[in-house]
Structures are given as C-alpha cells and as structure tokens.
C-alpha cells in the first residue's frame, strides 16, 4: 500500500467518522488540539483502520505515540512495509 493510499484511507475515516472537513486534514494537525479528537475517538480510529485496511492495532504500543495526522500516516506506512500480509484495501 502506497503512502497516497494510506492517506486516502486515513482521511476518509476523519471525514466520515469524525466529521472533519478535508481541508483541515494536514499532516501537521495535532489530533487532540487541532482536530478535536479525544481518547474515545482514538479507540474508534483503531476500529475504523481495522475495518478499512485490516490492521489490528489494539495491542500495538507504537500507535499510542502518534500526536499528529502525519504521525498516523508515518506509522501506517512503516507498519505496511513491515507487515504487508496484514494490509488489505477493502475500502469502506
């Protein structure tokens, strides 16, 4: 999965699930302060990413360190590279 595809999947979650305008979805945006997410939204982000691209992240320690939207892209890009067998792109 390319970085572009990852961005598409992640941004779709932010638009559909968190009802955030696409123009606000820039890599530097802080998830909590700029985009208004809270800890419950992070649980839902993991659920949506599982449904969207197949990654099971509930027990992943590294995902807990993301702070910006760019961190999410970077994390997933690295994860996809290291665990290509887990990734699918069924879409929503």
């Amino acid at each position: 999965m390319t970085r572009e595809e990852i961005i598409q999947h992640v941004n779709a979650v932010f638009v559909d699930q968190f009802e955030i305008e696409e123009t606000r979805l820039v890599p530097d945006a802080q998830l909590f302060t700029d985009l208004g997410l809270d800890s419950l939204d992070i649980v839902d982000l993991l659920v949506e990413l599982h449904k969207s691209i197949g990654v099971a992240l509930r027990n992943n320690e590294e995902i807990r360190n993301v702070r910006t939207l760019g961190d999410v892209y970077d994390f997933l890009e690295k994860y996809a590279r290291e665990h290509p067998e887990e990734i699918h792109s069924a879409g929503k």
């Binding site: 649980v43 839902d44 659920v47 599982h50």
Partner: protein
C-alpha cells in the same frame, strides 16, 4: 389535592413520532386519520405467521446532525429520539441553562430495555469479531439507561438520573417517578418521558406470543390494527419519544411559565401473577389507587387515553377494568391503530397527544374501530372525533411482567392561565 405534597405541573412537552416532530403536527395528522403503520419487507423474522407490520419513524438527517458529534457518539436511535424531544420540551418550558445545571433539575426517561438495535449490534460484534471492530461507545449505546444519561449529558443535568425499564409501562413509570421526586422535594424540575425503537427482534417477542397483527387478505396495513374492535388480531410495534418538563408548581408560577397541565394522581402496581397477559383485577386496583391519590371520583374524569394495543386479551382486560370503574360515562380511545405500540414511549407520547386534545377541546377516536367487541362495548368508545371540554384525564399503561401504571392529569383552570 388533599395532600401537603408540593403540586407538580407540566410546563413543556416535546415529541418525536412517526406522524410528526411536534405536538400540533402529530395531533393534526392523527385527526386527519393518517396511519404510520406499513408493511416491513426489509424485516426478516423466520417463523412469522404473516406479513410483518410496524410504524417506523424516519428522522431527517439534519435533525440527527443537529446534535454535537461527541455527544451523538453514545446515542442509538432511542437516545436521539429522547434528546430531540427533550430539547423541544425545554424550549417550550423556557427553563434557563442555570436551572437545568444547578442540581435542581433531574431526568427520568424510560425505555423497554435500552436500545434493542444497539444491543443486537453489540452482541453481533462481540461474537463475530471481538473487540477489534467494537466502537468505543457501543456499550453505552446499548445500556438500559442510555436515553436518560445521554439527555443528562446533552443538557448538563446534575440532579437525579433515573431510567425505568419496565417494558411498555416505562414511559409512564418515568413520569410517575419524576412526579414523586418533585413531590418529595428532591428536585424542582424533572425532564421525564419515554422512548423506544421498533426493531424486528422486539416485534418477534410479540409474534412469538401470537400478539402481532398481520394484514388479512385484501386489507391495507393501515387497517390492520383495530383496538377494541371485534376483528382485532394484535398489535404492530412503533417507535418515537416524548419528554415532558415536570416542575414544582410554585416554581413554575414564579418564573411565569405556561402551565400545560397538572399531574394530580399516579399509581403503579403489579398483578403478582401474570407475565404476558393483562390482568383486569390488577388494572382496576391501579386505577382506583390513582383516583384515590388524586382525590377524584370516576365521574370526575372526562377522558381516558387507553393502553389498548389491539390484542384480543389485552383490550378485553383493560375494557373490563375500565367498565367496572367508569361504566360508559367516560369517553375512551386508543391511538395505537395509527401510531402502533410505541412501547416504552407510549405512555409519554399518548399523554402528549392528550394534552393537545385538551387544548383543542377535541377528543381523538380509535381509528379502525368499526364494530366494538362485545367484551369492550360497555365503554363509551370514541369512533369519531368528539368536541368536548376536558379537565381531568387518565392515561394508563400495562406491560409484560404484570406491571400497570395510571396517571391522572388536570388541565389548568382559566384563573391559573
């Protein structure tokens, strides 16, 4: 009233129903004879004995989006209906944010069992995929007090938070317990009512007992539910919500609130012997207790908003109890031919319509009541709208588990207005 308890009045009332999102529209559509009952080809219920009917409501998307996303996350339909109804009730009452949030205001909102659709989804997710696909608030959408706590969070209520779950008596029991909270001086204001969802699983509980109506050959869906009629064959489930603002009377008068009605008596009891069937003797005892609390005689009552769902046994038991107390002296009707059985919402929703009947001096009839059953014919059954002044009214609800609830209201006199 003969007691020293504070008096409790209604100063706001919001509705979300299959026939409208405000009391006036709901009343006018009922008066026009409209029905929300339709065939449900999208529902699957293996083993059903006929075509499935229900009275679903279609909530405009913009109404849902009018609720903040973070508050909406924990809301299944049952909570959304209740929240929208509460918002309108508060607006009508004119209560301030300070009054809502300073601890003097609580809520009591009942539903049959929380959100049946969310419970179904929660169990499906657990069994199909475990936690990986489980949204953070799925559990909170499901729970029995989901509507009540969501309402409390949306409006910042910090008083009592109560959520009777007593099947089809839930809404009226919620109003009853809210009335008690104010009478006992614990709260000054209570937001109280009922809410429920129509789902195939809930319909299935009635179908299992052969209590669900199916259209006869050549019969329209709208004609299938026939409370008190000789040809009644069961009920259809409906959905929606109604929430009232109950308020200590002096508080309401001091702030200049418009009083829609006063609650002057309430009673709830159990049959102590029935699970699925209405019990005429227990209903009679409940009616008698409510009249006693209101210090009223049967002859004082001007209208009875019946529970009558359209089942053979339930309508007959209710009619027997009403006949023994009121004879044929009091007009009686049921709204379930048009709205379906809105279960946990029914007590509050039908009470809301009764307030509108009283305001307009027009009693609504039971739709589809062409030939009253002999078992019900001892009552003054309304078969057409009737122009009549209405001062005291009765609303009754009966539920699985042998629960009965009866509320008596009084319209304010011209002096108080």
């Amino acid at each position: 009233m003969a007691s020293d308890f504070p008096r409790v009045v209604i100063t706001g009332c919001g509705v979300v129903s299959a026939l409208g999102f405000d009391r006036a529209t709901l009343f006018e559509r009922l008066l026009a004879g409209e029905s929300a009952i339709r065939v449900m080809p999208e529902w699957e219920l293996p083993g059903a004995t006929g075509e499935l009917l229900a009275a679903p409501l279609e909530l405009p998307h913009e109404k849902i989006l009018s609720l903040d996303r973070k508050l909406r996350r924990s809301m299944a339909p049952v909570a959304i209906y209740a929240t929208l109804a509460t918002r309108d009730a508060i607006a009508e009452s004119g209560l301030s944010d300070e009054e809502l949030t300073n601890g003097t205001t609580g809520c009591a909102i009942g539903s049959t069992l929380g959100s049946p659709s969310a419970i179904h989804e929660t169990m499906r997710l657990f069994h199909d995929s475990g936690l990986e696909n489980m949204p953070a608030q799925q559990f909170f959408k499901s729970v029995s007090h989901t509507a009540a706590f969501n309402v409390a969070n949306v409006f910042g209520l910090t008083g009592a938070l109560l959520a009777p779950c007593s099947a089809c008596a839930s809404g009226l029991q919620a109003i009853g317990v809210a009335y008690d909270e104010i009478r006992l001086g614990r709260q000054t204001v209570m937001l109280a009512g009922g809410t429920d969802e129509a789902t195939p699983e809930v319909a299935g509980t009635f179908e299992q007992l052969f209590a669900l109506a199916h259209p006869a050959t050549g019969q329209n869906a709208a004609e299938a539910i026939r409370p008190f009629d000789v040809n009644r064959s069961g009920l259809a489930v409906g959905e929606g919500a109604a929430v009232l603002v109950l308020e200590e009377r002096v508080h309401a008068l001091r702030r200049g609130a418009r009083i829609l009605a006063e609650i002057c008596g309430y009673a709830t009891n159990a049959s102590g012997r029935q699970t699925s069937q209405s019990d005429a003797e227990a209903i009679e005892r409940c009616l008698t207790a409510a009249l006693r609390e209101a210090s009223l005689q049967p002859a004082n009552i001007h209208y009875i908003s019946a529970h009558a769902t359209g089942t053979r046994q339930g309508d007959a038991a209710e009619a027997a109890a009403l006949t023994r107390i009121f004879g044929n002296a009091v007009p009686v009707s049921s709204l379930k031919a048009q709205l379906g059985h809105t279960m946990g919402a029914s007590g509050a929703l039908e009470l809301a319509v009764t307030l509108e009947m009283a305001r307009r001096n027009t009693l609504l009839p039971t739709a589809n009541l062409a030939a009253p059953d002999e078992a019900c014919a001892g009552l003054d059954l309304l078969q057409a709208p009737r122009h009549s002044a209405l001062r005291y009214f009765v609303k009754d609800c009966f539920a699985f588990g042998g629960i009965n609830a009866v509320l008596i209201g009084e319209m304010p006199s011209a002096v108080e207005l």
